[in-house]
């Protein structure tokens, strides 16, 4: 379970990323985080994987209390999470296979496990045939799938995606979201920040709307809610 308890994030320049946010996300949920650019979606996501720390309040991810986490525990926290970034963060000089395998190497997995697990994940995201391609040989959607495969490869409990469809055309974006739904169906909790109004409206999942750092809406079967 992820729980935010009256969390505020204030940046050194005085700007508030989040104001007094309380939120509970249970295991197995699929949650859209919506809101205009700069509303605080990314701030919230960065707090979850502890790239940033809350200024006030407390964030809990399972047994981890994020305000009092030592550096070695940050690594352990992140092994529970699979993070997908808008800019994907692929390593350009490594192939699709190597990019995904790298995430397993980094946590000290054995070569045998890597050889077994990576093809499974590539299969899941539909990239089995591109395994030896380099990122620049792939389309934006395919690159994002590599990012997702890398996030999944260590079997995370939570999959957190920060605008994974931000740079994709609507058709590709829909496929990516379908992939997340499939991931969720297989048991992972999915938290996805997005701008993709149509998709959110269509999916009928829990929607948490953030505006100017505050949660303004939290609906179990929600819509994006911005008609303008």
């Amino acid at each position: 379970m992820i729980r935010l308890d009256k969390v505020s994030k204030r940046y050194p320049n005085g700007h508030y990323g989040l104001v007094d946010v309380s939120l509970t996300i249970r295991r197995g949920e699929f949650l859209f985080l919506v809101g205009p650019s700069g509303a605080g979606k990314s701030s919230l996501i960065r707090l979850l994987y502890r790239e940033e720390a809350a200024s006030q309040g407390e964030v809990f991810v399972d047994q981890f209390k994020l305000s009092s986490l030592r550096r070695s525990q940050v690594a352990r926290l992140r092994r529970q999470l699979g993070v997908v970034f808008q800019d994907v963060k692929l390593l350009p000089q490594r192939t699709v296979y190597q990019n995904v395998a790298f995430a397993m190497e980094a946590v000290g997995a054995s070569t045998r496990d890597i050889r077994k697990r990576v093809p499974q994940v590539l299969e899941l995201v539909g990239l089995s045939r591109s395994r030896d391609n380099y990122p620049h040989q792939l389309s934006g959607g395919e690159q994002q799938r590599v990012g997702i495969a890398r996030a999944l490869v260590n079997n995370p409990i939570y999959v957190i995606a920060d605008e994974p469809t931000g740079n994709l055309d609507p058709e590709t974006a829909r496929d990516i979201v379908k992939l997340f739904v499939e991931i969720n169906r297989r048991g992972a909790t999915v938290i996805m920040a997005t701008h993709a109004k149509d998709i959110v409206n269509q999916m009928q999942r829990r929607v948490v709307a953030i505006e100017r750092g505050r949660v303004v809406r939290d609906e179990v079967r929600g819509a994006y809610g911005y008609e303008s």
Binding site: Y49, R71, A75, V83, F102, E105, A106, G108, R150
Partner: protein, 297 residues
């Protein structure tokens, strides 16, 4: 820290890759370490030799104790037996004033007046020749003899030794200071080499951090790289010092046959130890410094 075999092979692979990718910077680092370690060795060789000379001189230094006149022989011998067990006393020999006169005559056969004087009425004293283990102990030991009621005077030639001692102390300090400065310069250059390697791989480091690699797992290849640079540099210096010292002992044997140079193996064992420890330390420290900023994600 527990590290399985996969981790080890990963680390070795990454280290080799870094070293080869930045081969020019690696070469520069090795050279800098070598120069720094050579200077360290230079001071080491100097102090080792100075200590060696001091030790050689020490073994020749003796203290003379003269005993008051008209002290019975039994008392003289009693102190002799006692003093044998004092710490710092390596050897103690008793001599009578007749023996002293005889050796004087032997040493200065041409000094007729002197010989005539000591033959007529011997003005010399009975006494002891004392040898010590450490020149530093001489003043204390002299003091101790002086407190004995039967002792008339204590004479020792401690100045040369204590001057040598002072000199080697000064040399040690100068060595530390010079080496400290050079060490900083070396550190700086290795830090930059490794920072280049880290910078080339900053995306990897970032991704590793984000997927939950521990700091040490990320650090190891770079630490190992620093160690390899440090050890290679030290070995270069050691080879040069070894060759140089062999040449020096050869040349000195001809030019200064009586000058007691410290033997090669004792010099090299110290030089090897200090340079390798120094090289490893500098390398490890440099890689830790270079990585600090990149691990803060």
């Amino acid at each position: 820290m527990a590290m399985n075999l996969n981790g080890v092979s990963y680390i070795v692979r990454e280290t080799m890759r870094n070293l080869i990718r930045n081969s020019w910077m690696s070469l520069a680092s090795v050279s800098t370490v070598a120069i720094s370690m050579f200077v360290l060795s230079f001071f080491l060789v100097l102090t080792i030799n100075l200590n060696h000379v001091t030790a050689v001189l020490q073994s020749q230094v003796e203290m003379k104790i003269f005993i008051n006149r008209h002290v019975p022989r039994s008392q003289e011998l009693a102190l002799l037996r006692q003093a044998r067990h004092w710490p710092d006393v390596r050897r103690i020999d008793f001599f009578t004033k007749q023996q002293a006169a005889a050796s004087l005559k032997q040493e200065f056969p041409d000094q007729r007046d002197l010989v005539a004087l000591i033959s007529k009425s011997n003005p010399l004293f009975d006494g002891y020749d004392v040898y010590t283990y450490r020149p530093q102990a001489i003043p204390q030991l002299a003091e101790r003899f002086h407190k004995e009621s039967i002792v008339h005077t204590v004479v020792y030639e401690g100045q040369v030794v204590s001057r040598l001692d002072k000199l080697s102390n000064i040399l040690r300090w100068v060595g530390w200071i010079v080496e400290g400065l050079l060490g900083l310069a070396t550190l700086f250059i290795i830090v930059n080499t490794i920072r280049l390697a880290v910078f080339a791989r900053r995306r990897e480091v970032q991704v590793m951090k984000l997927v939950g690699a521990t700091d040490w797992f990320i650090r190891w290849p770079f630490v190992l790289e620093g160690m390899v640079l440090g050890i290679l540099g030290s070995l270069v210096a050691d080879v040069v010092v070894d060759g140089g010292y062999r040449w020096l002992t050869g040349a000195a044997a001809v030019a200064l046959p009586f000058w007691p140079l410290a033997p090669l193996h004792s010099v090299m064992s110290e030089v090897l130890m200090f340079t390798l420890i120094g090289g490893v330390l500098v390398g490890v420290l440099a890689s830790m410094v270079a990585l600090r900023r990149f691990l803060r994600i």
